[in-house]
């Protein structure tokens, strides 16, 4: 995720026509109508928290993908493409596809067969209450803070792009999200995420189409970018042999092992915000197909994110600059590139649709955070630690109230950030601390039957402490980055990757060592939780071309081909 402060500038980028206002208003009416319609179908815990576990593979897959397709990501990574070139695509390909396929084929059977409500819920079944409590409390706390940070960022972007008042954006979006999630629960959040997916494509796909037309095709765009920047801006891998031979200042080991093997695995397989969408699938085959569908579509996202950034670099008649320079000079920053390209090609109506897509991205991201927070709070904190004997109706009522309270905490966080902007970067950093070690804990739990309960807890805790420690070390002494990333040439973008790699390794080593010193669970206790001890039901009655393994193979072939083509 991009630093949120980097989204800010002081100029208004676009002016809306009345028809644009009608399109935005229609979006709000539609999402509220969906919420009211779904109210009557969210009366039980399974309905409210798990969307009745009846989503098809396509709905779960689109929702899974949309949970990571927020407007901040779109604008931030388009800005990164302008700044670093096609290298930013790594976050969409190697930084997502292998992890999504791993989730589908290796991890999903255990999540699904265990019938857990959440990732912390799986940790309870596999490692016991301490690991669940650590994971659930940290996740709930961070999720609701992130929701507030995103809310403020959204309001700020709307102020910059459209000139809207901060308070108006925060309250209108919050109240809308609170209404439709409180009414319809996870099902309502999922419906709106799928709607957001279509709005984003409908609103953004014209930019690459018209941009390539204006540039004279991909070949001419490469020439333009090479003239304005350098040839390395158009290569994915060929400049990654050394830290200073590419615009990002990163080495291929960081991309492959830090991003591809740890960060993305941690995010896509253990972040409950995205995994929750898959747990709502109607059966195991749908749960396995959903991340594969998500992976197939994820490979297309650079079309509407990276390509507009490159087109901006090649076509805009002025240069974009970094945030500090933009603030000092009044120029546009890198992160303005997507709205600038939107305003370049989109007239009345289309501009409204593009802005609606951004609003939808922000709001569904907020709804995703709030619905995940609600589930973890109710099932992994409130029920086991405070009130374990209540009725299902009571927990649903708790879920609805928690939704409202979660939104109010998010609003409070947004106002806190408004008065102390540095809090945003701290919250984002805090969120990243837990991802890599959590992946180590969950994957060892699923694949290694010898891993014990105390080992799961201590591995998770010490892995997280490693991440926090490294972050603090570099914060206090920026030159320490050379030790974290093992190179004096490493730049800031490399820190996250190596920090994640080390914290993952510490988590794994601690888990293994403590496991060897403590008593394991019996095979019977691990039935349904660990590979080798769990009978995975075979998919019956479907042709070879309907099986998840076949489609995962297709995705792998396309993934490899794309990396070779843009080498």
């Amino acid at each position: 995720m991009m630093p949120l402060m980097a989204m800010f500038a002081e100029t208004r980028l676009v002016h809306l026509a009345p028809i644009d206002g009608v399109i935005i208003a229609f979006y709000f009416v539609l999402v509220l109508a969906i919420g009211f319609y779904l109210k009557g179908r969210s009366n039980t815990g399974e309905d409210f928290f798990m969307a009745g576990r009846e989503m098809t593979a396509w709905v779960a897959g689109l929702s899974f993908l949309s949970a990571n397709l927020g407007a901040l990501e779109l604008m931030g990574w388009a800005g990164s493409a302008y700044q670093y070139g096609i290298l930013a695509t790594h976050w969409y390909w190697i930084g997502a596809i292998p992890a999504m396929l791993f989730l589908a084929l290796v991890m999903m059977p255990f999540y699904y067969i265990s019938k857990t409500h959440s990732v912390p819920g799986y940790l309870k079944l596999r490692f016991g209450e301490p690991a669940r409590a650590l994971s659930a409390i940290s996740f709930a706390f961070m999720t609701v803070l992130m929701s507030g940070v995103n809310m403020f960022a959204m309001a700020k972007v709307m102020q910059i792009v459209l000139g809207w008042d901060l308070n108006f954006s925060i309250w209108v979006s919050s109240i809308t999200v609170a209404i439709y999630v409180t009414l319809g629960g996870l099902r309502s959040a999922i419906f709106n995420e799928v709607l957001q997916f279509f709005l984003i494509w409908a609103g953004a796909l014209l930019i690459p189409i018209l941009g390539l037309y204006e540039a004279g095709g991909w070949g001419h765009l490469k020439v333009l970018v090479t003239q304005r920047a350098s040839a390395e801006y158009m290569h994915l891998w060929s400049g990654l042999g050394h830290f200073n031979s590419n615009p990002m200042g990163i080495h291929w080991t960081g991309i492959v092992f830090g991003l591809g093997a740890v960060i993305s695995m941690g995010y896509w397989t253990t972040d409950f915000l995205v995994v929750q969408r898959i747990l709502a699938a109607k059966d195991l085959r749908s749960a396995e197909m959903a991340p594969i569908i998500g992976a197939g579509l994820k490979m297309l996202v650079p079309l509407i994110v990276i390509l507009p950034g490159l087109l901006g670099l090649g076509l805009l008649p002025f240069h974009l600059v970094g945030e500090a320079q933009a603030a000092a000079t009044g120029a546009h920053s890198y992160n303005d590139v997507l709205p600038l390209m939107l305003a370049r090609y989109c007239g009345p109506g289309l501009l409204g649709l593009g802005v609606t897509a951004l609003i939808a991205g922000f709001m569904s991201g907020m709804a995703g955070n709030v619905s995940a927070f609600t589930t973890v709070w109710t099932y992994d904190i409130y029920r086991p630690l405070m009130n374990s004997n209540a009725t299902d109706k009571h927990y649903v009522s708790m879920g609805r109230w928690t939704t409202v309270i979660g939104v109010l905490i998010s609003i409070g966080t947004a106002y806190l950030v408004m008065h102390s902007a540095s809090i945003m970067d701290y919250v984002q950093a805090l969120f990243s601390f837990f991802i890599a070690p959590l992946f180590g804990t969950v994957v060892l739990g699923m694949l290694w039957k010898r891993a014990t309960g105390p080992a799961g807890f201590w591995g998770l805790l010490l892995g997280t402490c490693t991440s926090v420690g490294m972050w603090g070390w570099v914060k206090v002494d920026p030159s320490a980055l050379r030790y974290v990333a093992l190179s004096p040439y490493a730049k800031a973008m490399a820190q996250d990757m190596y920090q994640a790699l080390w914290s993952f390794l510490v988590c794994v080593i601690v888990t293994v060592v403590v496991s060897m010193l403590t008593k394991p669970k019996t095979d019977t206790e691990l039935d349904g939780l660990v590979m080798g001890l769990t009978k995975i039901p075979h998919v019956e009655g479907v042709s070879w071309y309907q099986k998840p393994l076949f489609w995962a193979g297709v995705v792998v072939v396309v993934f490899v081909a794309l990396n070779v083509i843009f080498w």
Binding site: F191, F198, E214, G347
Partner: protein, 67 residues
């Protein structure tokens, strides 16, 4: 239960109609100085029309049916 795809279709149908309509209006009453690049392609007319047709298909195919 009304399908999610019906809601998607409704969104595309209404947005497509509004965008296409705005584009046609601009074709009839073009601004003296176009404020967008490639104005002559009238992207909002054909893109809005495409969204309208896709939305119409979704609305018809996934329309609510009584049991």
């Amino acid at each position: 239960m009304i399908s999610i795809w019906f809601f998607i279709g409704l969104s595309l149908l209404v947005n497509g109609a509004l965008i296409c309509g705005a584009g046609v209006y601009q074709m009839i009453n073009p601004p003296a100085i176009p404020n967008i690049v490639l104005f002559s392609l009238h992207a909002n007319v054909w893109w809005g029309g495409l969204l309208f047709l896709v939305g119409l298909f979704y609305c018809v195919y996934f329309r609510p049916k009584h049991a």
